[in-house]
Amino acid sequence: MVYGKNQWKAWLYLSPALILLAVFTVWPIFNTLRMAFLENYGLMSANGGATFSFGIGNFLKVLQYKKFLNCLGNTMLLTVLTVPISTILALLIAVCLNSIKFLNRFLQTVYFLPYVTNSIAIGMVFAAMFNIVGNITSADLSETGNIIVTSGIINNIIEFFGGQPISWINAKSSYAANIAVMVIYIVWNALPFKILVLLGGLQSVNKQYYDAARVDGTSRARIFTRITVPLLSPMIAYVVITGFIGGFKEYSSVVGVFGVNMGPVGDAGRLNTMVGFIYDALENDNQGRASAAALILFVIIFAVTMLNLYVSKKKVKY
């Protein structure tokens, strides 16, 4: 309780956070709203003294834009594929990590490493692993699409087992192959955080539940499905919700693997995402369209999160 004389002190102590929030969060949000509803708003022309009329043209344009629908599709597909896969994998890894005594600390560190590694750097490593390197001239590719030299480790492994090398990310690669690479990359990148949260949850579960289950002769599978998963359900809900939010904001992963072209050579933009679309609009001095797309993204994320919360309220048991 702060009364009269001392109230200015409270505001003083709050001011650093308030000022930062106002400058970097509140004002940009407000500005985004403003720009989204000004027809064809562009920063350069605005600086040049142009005026814009109020309207919803930006939204209509964005939604009619084929590129935008493509970005939306890519983002949705990646999110829907990677969130369940990474959550299930993280759950299994966390349970395994929790049950081993030997090297436990060391392995926790190993599994956490991707989290502290730059995602562009990881992307470049993935690109190298899936890449095809060699003296491939563009002429060769456009004529035959044949792979002449492979040196990516993934193709090496495939060849070692007698398979045909696949063009994962190079020119003429298929969309399915591109998505497969992205899914592997995003899952791998998303695992550490999820493992960390779930492992923390597991370690806070009272050991006596497991003792009680053992005395009652519960099989390992049943302990997992009937005890571990329900007791972890709040944490699982948390990683799923944050996973969906992160998934809809996917961008740097695609840049890491494919570069700013957001697609294999010869098909730029094929794997572009919502955030990528926003960046592109900004680069083309179309802040109005970018703002509209950002708001659409916000609405989608908001709706999905609400849906998640609704489902988890029914499923999270305690």
Partner: protein
């Protein structure tokens, strides 16, 4: 099902890794628990009583020794194959399941020939719930139950698979005083009705004495004394057992045996036929008889009225306890202050050798 423990020993590695010595939690525990009896494992915290219980359940592996259920050697058996029901100190009820699901859980684990149909399971669960008087609460979650109700769910869950042995770890320690009284009667009743051999762990001597057929008093992993509660109370074998049993606790005095007399401080209280030595004299609170010409003299501190009895609080220089507490009938009359004298009941006075605190069994005259 009788339970036989032979030389049961549990050693834990020392927490401080530089110290090579292992911590001996339970040391050569040998005891036979008769079929269908309720046994209280009693001792101060850290005396190894819970470890003993967990070894019987199979959750802890003994370092040495054997465990038999009836004639079966179960020492190497996994917990699920022993047929034990275990009630944990904090109940360990699954928070996401209802009471019914909690009680059903052990039954759903049964495999092979033991597998039950849905209806059989439900019937057994309802029966178990009825036994612990939870019929109305089957659809509640544990968080919606009181401590005593949770306790009863835990007991029902342990009983529903019809265990050969029921184990209870500090079953009453999380309950308030009134519920504790009620629940211990409940445990007694359930045990009588099911006739399952039951072992329960407690540090509360009153609890153990009130419901056990036999008690096992432990200290630092070693059995001190076993027997019927009253027998142990009436004839403790050493100072530890004497001090541990009884509320209010026994009054311990420094004393000596000199020339055939037992002295408490300066007062000669009894004649004994023992060699001269330093001793501890333990006198139960109910062993005091106020008397004008009594043999033991104490400084009166106050009188606490408890209704039927009064508790006389006095001081005595030789007493190890802060005050001497005696319980006498309410009709006795005391002065407001000054010296009061007591005669002593010889069967309530125990003499212990001061060097090793073992009882000196001798006739007090």
């Amino acid at each position: 099902m009788k339970v036989v423990l032979q030389n049961l020993t549990k050693k834990f590695p020392n927490r401080n890794k530089k110290v090579k010595d292992e911590v001996v939690a339970v040391d050569k525990f040998t005891y036979e628990i008769p079929d269908g009896k309720l046994i209280g494992l009693l001792g101060p915290s850290g005396c190894g009583k819970s470890t003993t219980l967990f070894m019987i359940s199979g959750l802890e592996k003994p370092t040495d020794g054997k465990i038999f259920f009836g004639e079966d050697d179960v020492t190497e058996l996994a917990p699920e194959n022993r047929g034990v029901g275990l009630v944990f100190q904090n109940y360990a009820l699954y928070p996401h399941m209802t009471v019914k699901q909690n009680i059903l859980f052990p039954l759903e684990n049964l495999k092979g020939n033991d597998k039950l149909t849905k209806n059989e399971m439900l019937k057994r669960a309802v029966d178990a719930a009825h036994l612990v008087q939870l019929d109305e609460l089957l659809d509640r979650k544990p968080s919606e139950l009181s401590g005593g109700q949770q306790q009863r769910v835990a007991i029902a869950r342990a009983l529903v698979k019809m265990p050969r042995v029921l184990l209870l770890d500090e079953p009453l320690s999380n309950l308030d005083a009134r519920l504790r009284l009620q629940t211990r009667e409940e445990i007694r009743r359930i045990q009588r009705e099911t006739n399952i051999t039951t072992i329960f762990v407690t540090h509360d001597q009153e609890e153990a004495m009130s419901i056990s057929d036999e008690i096992v008093v432990m200290k630092a992993g070693v059995i001190q004394q076993t027997g019927a509660p009253q027998a142990v109370y009436d004839s403790p074998v050493n100072l530890f057992v004497a001090k541990f049993l009884g509320t209010p606790p026994i009054n311990v005095f420094k004393g000596q045996i000199k020339e055939g007399k037992l002295y408490v401080g300066e007062d000669a209280v009894f004649s004994v036929d023992e060699a001269d030595r330093e001793v501890y004299v333990g006198i139960r609170p109910e062993g005091f008889i106020p008397a004008q010409e009594g043999v033991l003299h104490c400084e009166l501190n106050g009188v606490e009225v408890m209704g039927r009895d009064v508790s006389v609080v006095t001081k005595n220089a030789a007493c190890e306890n802060p005050v001497v507490r005696s319980i006498v009938s309410a009709e006795s009359v005391f002065p407001a202050a000054g010296v009061v004298s007591f005669n002593l009941k010889s069967n309530k006075v125990f003499v212990f050798d001061a060097s090793n605190e073992e009882r000196i069994f001798c006739e007090l005259k």
